[in-house]
Homo-oligomer: 376 residues x 2
């Protein structure tokens, strides 16, 4: 059986968890949390980083920092995970769902401007499959209308965007805020886990407070205030040290993980491109402004029937391939709240996209076997 | 140096974390999560249990389940941790803070009824130091006014309440909902971590959905629906399996942990009671309806000056003793929102209560040394 995903252990996870356990510091914000946060700041140029218990929680922090009030509007793609929207709905936001691009499941950047109203507070681009949205276009729109940009970079660790002047920035370092996931299905994992990147200094202090349950505890330990107390809303967003310890082992092996995944991705691409072209099946597109972090390899079928046939054929060969999101604007929860616009590209990907097995320990001959089954 | 707290490892924590890691199931709701949840259900009679990433998150789930809407009122003591209130404020609640009892930092049950208005939705008793509030009185008030009772049982694992008819129930099994903490400072720990206990069947199904990011994923895996999607608000409340694995090692040693802590508590009590009486210093009171789970041993001084002197004296003898909450109704965040009532007992405990070192590995001779320094 070839599973769709298998969490990869670099070897030192348990060792570092032991270390965290035996130093006696088990709650959040200890040695490993700081090491991970510093790694992200220095490697990717995020101004300030805070580990969270999940990407969902990082998005919730972003929604609080964006000061979302009931009735405020947030623009995001419909083809995304429920947490992208739930985080803002929890603060009372109305979601204005955008369609996907025709050539890619990411948000159709050209549709954003028409969705902006007086109540719009933020744009939330989702870097689907770790492939950048056109952040230059999105940041320009945000600047024009004075909106915040919160990158949902759940899948986008170690991926980059090139601006038209040649500047290259890591995804998550471009928007005012960005959220990453270390869920066991991601490139870099900690079981459940996430990260909030804060690139706009206006939010740094408040982020720390919200992270620490609405208290100024961090400022207290830096000696900036003489006692700490309740100063804001907030939650317990910080993960246990054991989670950060696990993550640290992964980060030490980031280059190895990424290079292996890219090799897998290229094997899929080279093996399938002729067949795909002949059969009108789409393969992942990487725009010129984007890089490939090899988070995911997927096919875009012509129809739901073709997709079901491929999934079934793979399944009967003991290979697990899975579809992905269902358009959120058509979900039981939001269907009635949506403004009725059709979002055909989002619906198309909901019906026709299928993800192939992709994990570190996948073997080249297994990938070749998967390719042969698909081609058959 | 005798610290205030030292997380205790029973010996098998790392072993079980290894187990979770190597089974390849690292995200939430795996084998250890289920084992822990079943343990709590069968040991304490909670109807349904869901592990969470923190007690804060369990309280947030409770606030969502209670369907708190902007302007709804919630009654709770002012002498509590910020998360007790933040969880409800995040949903738009106005907090009506109650005073503490004169003989105990817990909520003054007799003051609750006067705080009820048409907008009141819930009462949140906090079992301070793991000692029960008068749950019979509180449940009767709640029944009379059709209110929900959400027990903040953060400190109250393995503690009980005896009703006037002789019935004994575990704390957390009496209110409609209850929240527990496994933060490293608690009797039973997982670093960061918590538990929501659901005792009212009306909330069971929705609790599962909210826990799974607002999706009906659990129903899907039970075969009750043929696909799963976004059906409600929610968040990622479930912890990594490694956290549950750690907790499981603790639960296997619950009796040993509890019996050792009770021994420590009794040594403090016996060693200090005469001195306390002579010097007008209060010691923890356990009402007849309550049991002692030995979560905490504290002194209630006559004045803040006396408390500071004791803390300083202990510090100069390398013993760490710490005060606890600051009245939330006087906090920078809620001062202006509070209705102006004086809550003198809450303020008194804010100024006069000091907690002594209390952890499994504390030695009897260390406790005797602490007692001698206090008496000196």
């Amino acid at each position: 059986m070839i599973p769709f995903n298998k969490p990869y252990l670099t070897g030192k996870e348990a060792h570092y968890m032991y270390d965290a356990v035996y130093t006696g510091k088990l709650s959040g914000n200890g040695k490993f949390t700081k090491k991970c946060q510093q790694f992200f700041e220095s490697t990717y140029g995020f101004k300030k980083c805070l580990l969270t218990t999940s990407c969902t929680d990082a998005l919730e922090m972003a929604a609080i920092l964006a000061d979302i009030q009931p009735g405020d509007e947030v623009i995001m793609p419909s083809y995304t995970f429920v947490s992208t929207s739930n985080a803002f709905v929890l603060r009372g936001a109305h979601i204005r769902f955008a369609d996907s691009r025709k050539d890619h499941p990411g948000i159709d950047e050209d549709s954003i401007e028409s969705l902006i109203t007086d109540r719009t507070k933020a744009i939330v681009p989702v870097h689907y499959a770790g492939v950048a949205c056109d952040m230059e276009k999105i940041m320009a729109i945000a600047a024009k209308y004075n909106l915040l940009v919160i990158e949902d970079a759940a899948q986008a660790i170690d991926s980059y965007f090139t601006f038209s002047d040649g500047t290259v920035k890591a995804l998550g370092a471009i928007g005012h805020l960005a959220a990453f996931s270390f869920h066991e299905t991601k490139n870099i994992i900690s079981g459940e886990g996430g990260l909030l990147a804060i690139n706009d200094d206006r939010f740094s202090k408040r982020a720390e407070i919200i992270w620490e349950k609405g208290t100024n505890r961090s400022a207290f330990f830096r000696g900036e205030v003489d006692k700490y107390g309740w100063v804001d809303i907030g939650s317990s967003f910080l993960p246990s040290e054991t989670i950060a310890a696990f993550l640290w082992a992964q980060l030490e092996n980031l280059d190895d993980i990424q290079s292996r995944r890219k090799q897998h991705w290229n094997t899929y691409y080279e093996g399938l491109k002729e067949w795909a072209e002949k059969n009108n099946v789409g393969l992942p597109q990487i725009p010129n402004f984007a890089t490939n972090n090899a988070h995911m390899f997927y096919l875009v079928c012509e129809s739901i029937e073709q997709r079901s046939a491929i999934i079934e054929r793979l399944k009967s060969n003991n290979i697990s391939a899975v579809f992905h999101y269902l358009s959120l604007h058509k979900s039981p929860f939001y269907n009635e709240k949506h403004d009725g616009r059709e979002l055909p590209a989002s619906d198309f990907y909901s019906e026709c996209l299928v993800r192939l097995p992709m994990y570190y320990e996948l073997k080249q001959n297994e990938i070749e076997q998967i390719i042969e089954v698909i081609k058959a």
